[in-house]
Symmetry: C3
Subunit: 652 residues, 3 copies
């Protein structure tokens, strides 16, 4: 079986004279591009004033692309409501925690809880889907754009307050249950009724974490609900088309599994250099080392995550084709990296890799963001990469992606929990999960992410569950019958879903699974780690004091004699945040027990092992001999000496 793999590009016909469109379309086709995403910010040109729909230009644009043999993904323009709409209903603006409206003039100036805005979105999407839903060229829809970007998942607006109160009323039924669940007896925080509950805004001291947690859940639910409104319209009026959203990187303020479950395809916007510069806690030397390549694990992490959110089908909707405009520093990618990033996405199972954008816009906010073409239509570096990719894709038949040997449970709610209650400044859920992910990748292991309510783990040889704040019955049931190795902790099972410490104490598991109690925890500054006994490695940031039961054995101890890793049967509990040395040791030991095939990869070499095919990527500055790390087979692409920015595809 051969997987479909194709290239795409993001295009804004409204930005360019109509006379340029046919030539643009021709050049796209020549470059090997198959998919074009258009329309997702065009509301003011589709409806310049209320009710004045001007769709003809869009039809001509779609026709032009169609004539050139291109397939169109049509974006709904709801991330950029036009000025006339905002002036009609200014209370649709999102309100920040200080009470300031975040106004018109950029994008995402809309509160997900505002019903008028929701109504208007359904109206414009309906009109678009009626007109274009069955157009032959339209093969997919992108709903909105980058939900929650620019910190817009949460709004402290009047509609949000009203919505939150209703959501709470529905969840708790009566106010006593809310007061009990939140522990409002503490500090006399009892609410007399649902109508008196406030949003967690400015208060003298910190909020009740249960209150914040429910507000974050509500805010996430609003996005899922908003997305569904549009999905329903599109599915009805545009049958047979793929419904897609383009998620951002390291955005955790809403549950992507929930949104993704309403989609056909999850896609994401992949900016390796911008993300390394602005969105990752690494030291200066690391940032400098990978400045022009991106972090070696961050792209793969998101590829694997978004492969999970819509059950396997996923795209890269936007791939960085050169310097971007929005990070603190915006260097140019190293030669070959655009191709490497493209191949890495396909290696992790992407159906389409789409570059952002066709031609660099000379005006407005993103004028310093590279495109495949320069503003003067001359080809930029990305164009070469696209051409090379289309040639290589055409040449190679590669199988679809398979299940990985290792799974990590990924839970958006846990990120809200530790955002609410880090307890130590560094305790961040993404950061914790990413450390485990990097540790697995350093051993050459391929990883699947799973949602927290996974009911069947049997496909995996090893399951990793760090930082899961609260268990759910489905997962616990799955664990009871699971026979592979499990590694849980730190903080896993340390709360109830109501954000309390469980009555049976963390990790809140029945003794048959593991009989251990976390009696106390501590958070630690970076310069005060806890050394491990008899080996390299420390616990950093976080340490738990464990009391193992009779059937629970201590596997790793700290130098001060406390249990660090304990084991009962196939279940391991880790009482702290491991540094890379300790994590390497644990993964090595458990991996060997689980019968996994382990490699020892240098930082700059990463592989994706997918069934019989191994993909290798060199993020480093020196050529690497792949045989020295144990890789061999038939080279479908590349060779055993993997140059900087090099890609190799090896069949066993």
């Amino acid at each position: 079986m051969t997987a479909t793999r194709a290239l795409g590009v993001c295009y804004y016909p409204e930005h360019w004279p109509e006379a340029m469109w046919p030539e643009d379309a021709r050049r796209m086709t020549d470059m090997g591009i198959a998919f074009v995403r258009i329309g997702e910010f065009a509301w003011s040109r589709l409806e310049p004033a209320r009710g004045r729909l001007e769709f003809d230009w869009l039809e001509r644009a779609i026709d032009t692309l169609h004539d050139a043999g291109l397939k169109v993904v049509l974006g709904t323009p709801t991330a950029t409501p036009p000025k006339w709409l905002v002036d009609e209903m200014p209370e649709m603006l999102p309100i920040d925690v200080e009470g300031h409206a975040r106004g018109f003039g950029s994008r995402r100036h809309c509160c997900f809880s505002h019903e008028g805005y929701q109504r208007e979105c359904v109206r414009i999407v309906t009109a678009l889907a009626e007109r274009f839903g069955t157009h032959d060229a339209v093969v997919g829809w992108q709903i909105d754009n980058e939900y929650a970007c620019h910190d817009t998942a949460r709004s402290w607006s009047a509609p949000a307050l009203q919505g939150f109160r209703l959501w709470l009323a529905e969840k708790y039924g009566n106010i006593d249950r809310l007061n009990f669940a939140w522990g409002n007896v503490f500090w006399s925080m009892d609410y007399p009724d649902f109508h008196s509950v406030e949003l967690p805004g400015l208060t003298p001291s910190e909020h009740n974490p249960a209150h914040r947690m429910d507000f974050y859940r509500y805010s996430s639910d609003q996005i899922a609900r908003f997305n569904r409104l549009q999905v329903d319209v599109v599915r009805q009026l545009s049958p047979g088309r793929d419904v897609i959203h383009n998620f951002m990187g390291r955005t955790l303020t809403f549950d992507h599994f929930k949104v993704g479950s309403d989609l056909d395809i999850s896609s994401w916007d992949c900016y390796p250099l911008g993300f390394l510069e602005d969105r990752l806690e690494v030291d200066d030397a690391w940032r400098q080392r990978f400045m022009r390549t991106g972090d070696p694990d961050l792209q793969a992490f998101h590829h694997d995550l978004y492969r999970a959110t819509s059950k396997g089908r996923w795209w890269v909707m936007e791939l960085q084709p050169g310097p971007v405009n929005w990070a603190d520093h915006n260097p140019a990618p190293r030669d070959g990296m655009i191709r490497l990033w493209s191949w890495e996405a396909f290696a992790h199972g992407a159906e389409v890799v789409s570059y952002f954008r066709w031609r660099q816009a000379p005006f407005a906010q993103e004028q310093m963001h590279a495109g495949l073409l320069r503003p003067d239509s001359v080809e930029a570096d990305g164009a070469d990469a696209a051409k090379t990719m289309s040639e290589e894709l055409a040449r190679l038949d590669l199988p679809p992606t398979e299940t990985a040997p290792v799974a990590i449970i990924f839970d958006y709610a846990s990120s809200w929990a530790w955002e609410t209650q880090p307890q130590g400044r560094e305790f961040d859920y993404f950061r914790l999960i990413f450390d485990f992910y990097r540790g697995l990748r350093a051993r050459g292991l391929s990883v699947d992410f799973l949602p927290p309510d996974t009911s069947d783990l049997s496909a995996y040889q090893m399951v990793i569950i760090p930082g899961l704040f609260a268990w759910n019955e489905t997962l616990v049931t799955a664990l009871r019958s699971y026979t592979g190795l499990v590694l849980a902790g730190p903080r896993t099972g340390s709360k109830t879903s109501s954000f309390s410490i469980p009555e049976t104490m963390p990790p809140d598991l029945p003794a048959p699974i593991i009989d251990v109690t976390v009696s106390q925890v501590e958070s630690l500054p970076a310069n005060c780690p806890v050394p491990i006994a008899g080996a390299d490695g420390t616990l950093k940031f976080w340490r738990e004091f464990l009391e193992p039961g009779a059937d629970c054995n201590v596997v790793v101890e700290s130098q001060d004699g406390q249990p660090v890793l304990v084991r009962q049967g196939n279940f391991h509990y880790l009482g702290g945040w491991p540094d890379s040395a300790l994590l390497a040791r644990i993964i090595n030991d458990l991996g060997q027990q689980a019968g996994l095939s382990l490699l020892a990869l240098p930082d700059e070499l990463r592989v994706r092992r997918d069934g019989a095919v191994t993909y290798a990527f060199n993020y480093g500055e020196r050529a690497i001999d792949l045989e020295t790390v144990g890789l061999s087979g038939t080279y479908l692409l590349g060779e055993s000496t993997l140059k900087p920015s090099g890609v190799a595809i090896i069949e066993a």
Copy 2:
């Protein structure tokens, strides 16, 4: 004579099923606890709706404690007004400098200037005092909780504005006097009348310091006034009980001497690890070194300070019993430290040391704050410490605390002055005083703090007056007749009480006391200190250029030839902020002249010498031989080899 020394604990019966109360009380008694503080956040359970007083549960709780032989300190719940009250009068919320209300949902959501809130507080306290004021178990009252915590001393609310204008009218009589006192001619800041005076809110450039200073005085006065309202009720309705407030650490936004003078007992909430992490300017190495012990001088500093604020009687109301939840990092205390901290408080004269809290709450904001018991009622580390303490206290008869040989004048208004006008980024009053305090302690000297209007200094061999912004007549009169050594400066006497430079120039003292003029000052970054001539040591942060008169001698000079320390008779003026080396030299020289018994203690060893008894505390990681630092006598507790976290009590 033997001092009473006892243990206490903070307890929240409303957080637990009533069925657990008797067992809790029994276990407290078994642990050697004598005092229980309750009730201070319970308003919403004492009055769930306006006028619906539900005091029965509290009576049953008090009775239960009483039955177990425990004494109760009853807190007034005014730091947590319930939601129904805030909804009745939302204008009671404090307003921050940007004009935002700091709302319901945590605690201290109340503006001290709001008369409706004051009235409601008097009402609920009256009802409580009528019901429980003569209950046999109730031996004391805690008024409110941690005034000014969470930056709530100052409010930019409409009631505060109104109150400030009246306060100014009363202080100045007519607006011309205010305009003159503040120097409002500068920048045309004249006010036409008191009704036009604003709070020092957002302005393009900085405020007039005299304006800020009066606002800070007003804000402090409001707290003293608020406290007195409740004290008056309690004294009338609950005669013979001790009236207490629990101050926080390093909180200087109101005058604790003023509040303390209305109390019987000052208490404070002592969190050694949290304070070191969040509230002290020390370098990373120092923070790391004492991460699990707390700073060796910070607890003692507050013990000595709060011993002064209510004329000798003081408690620790809350002592950290394990990791807390609110600092940037929250490590676990080292073994033995809870006992050490307990003993150190008693060494400085505490009557009661009370642990916060009995059982860790599994819910709400402080669920990660340790208690003596874990949430599942299993004993945590603090329980052991309490048991040890109660045994040792029972075994030892120790005399009451005596007057120390050295006094430091401590002035809250000076902290507001230098907060208003640091002139150099690091100039902070607490930090300055703490440096002097640490310097004295490093020489084994015990210290009393004195209020700025002290009229009699004769009990002391040496008096230290750093950074006192303005003299008062009482203190100057006391100095005229004082024959011990005085060390004043830097910045002492550099302002009038109206925040002007004195006509006679700083330090603004008559020539018979000392004839020296500060002709110019400069503030310095940390990396540009002024080296001292002929010895180690520098001036850091702050340097003054001194012009000594004929009878004033230069004792220490800078390498660039400027006088640094000058002396006239018993009076020394120090023209700068000494680093530890210079300060050690000065304290050594002056101490020898004053006939003080000086030790040379390493950083991690601290002693409290109190009459014939010496208490020694090892904050370090290695055992210390106390004989090598010159300590000997009969060991009432411990031995001459003082282990880490060790306590020794030695009788001469």
Copy 3:
């Protein structure tokens, strides 16, 4: 021809008892002071209530100064509108970007767009000019004080919004042209009409840069317009007097050329130590090294800049006479530096150097700011400097300043452009220009600044144009006929005036001038510079990828083989931000080609070569032998061994 050079002082008679005025005046004269600036903050004393004008005291003050032979510069008091006026029209307050009014209580609490405030300013200035406009002592007027200080150039007020809309309507004529010019099609930002345009306030993501740019232009224009209102009054009612404004250092939020063109004299407020501490990006070692002297180039930079803004005539209106009160740290100047700073100003052509202030005020905001006298009227260090200066000035006949050999184009709009779109965190226009300026000065070159619309460059041997965001026709025409050497870039010509990338791509110059294309740019963190081939030096912060045309030669290349400096005829384009080593090499090479006389000066030695006269200044801590750097001639002042803080004047 001999230039007039004189001393001045800033004086506030309203701060002192009238009885002190005659003695003050006498002492000023004795000190050699000729000019006194007064009155600029006195509105509340000139008009204590609406319409109650009290000018008599000011007349007595002027008369007193006049009687002592002093000349008066009278300030208009419009930077400090009194409380009664603000209470009459509170909507005159400036509003910050978050919507908060910046209220009364300091200064500059006024929005330049508010018409009522403008009217009131015209009224009070008219009254002053009617009363004092023809007073014999009044030789000049200072309009307002330090425009834009305390970040007050821009206001998000209702009047500003209204004014901005009208300004846009006037500029663009119809809304379609605005939408097109700004590229509002991007993100559906089209405005339906001018009345719907918003100020660039709080938005979820960034603003359209064209929108911000126009708002910054509008804000700058408002200041020029405001200034002109007062200038018109003064010119009419006080004929023959010099009209002056006192600009601040490193203030770029309005176009000083525009304001300066309405003045007779530009003056500036020169605080060398405060500016080094707070307003310059230098490393700690540099800040420490020059802590007591100020940066060796920063004063000269502003002298040269403000010599340009009013076509040659300029003063220092306020010179630091000792420690100031407003920087993070406020050290005392090193001995001799006040004289050095005074002489340096004269060396760059100042007519008057005026010290701020006469006597240190003991009250209000600036009580820690030194004066020539201490608060107790004793002479402070500045007084000595003034006396020395007046003696030396009287002794020396020095010619007026001449045209420099090198010019730098300085463009305020470019600073707004890169503030709006730095693209890399460090890209700041002032910082870039200052680097070039320092590089020229290190070679002993004197510099003139020129406005961006300069039409004739022929007086200069070399013209430097870094970072000019957009060309104007006048300058391009001048360049076409210019035969000296030109050095442009980085980012020069990279935008149109509408903030778009030019159609012909940067640097947007016709091929006859230079045929090169910037195909791509990148911004770089400080630790990732781009090394130059074959020599020391790097590009830091910013690098451009250049495509030179056939007639364009590569002069400098990077180690990775990219052109860095290209040349076509006399025109050089530099594709990046040079570090000091690369810049030194370029200036050396170009300077030699241009036939300039180059020196090689150590960091701490700076010279001003002005025709036949060379002024030398030693900012260092060691004496420097001027002959070793190639300076010789007749010493009018000083000698060849230039001591620390030393000044030498050498005639060829």
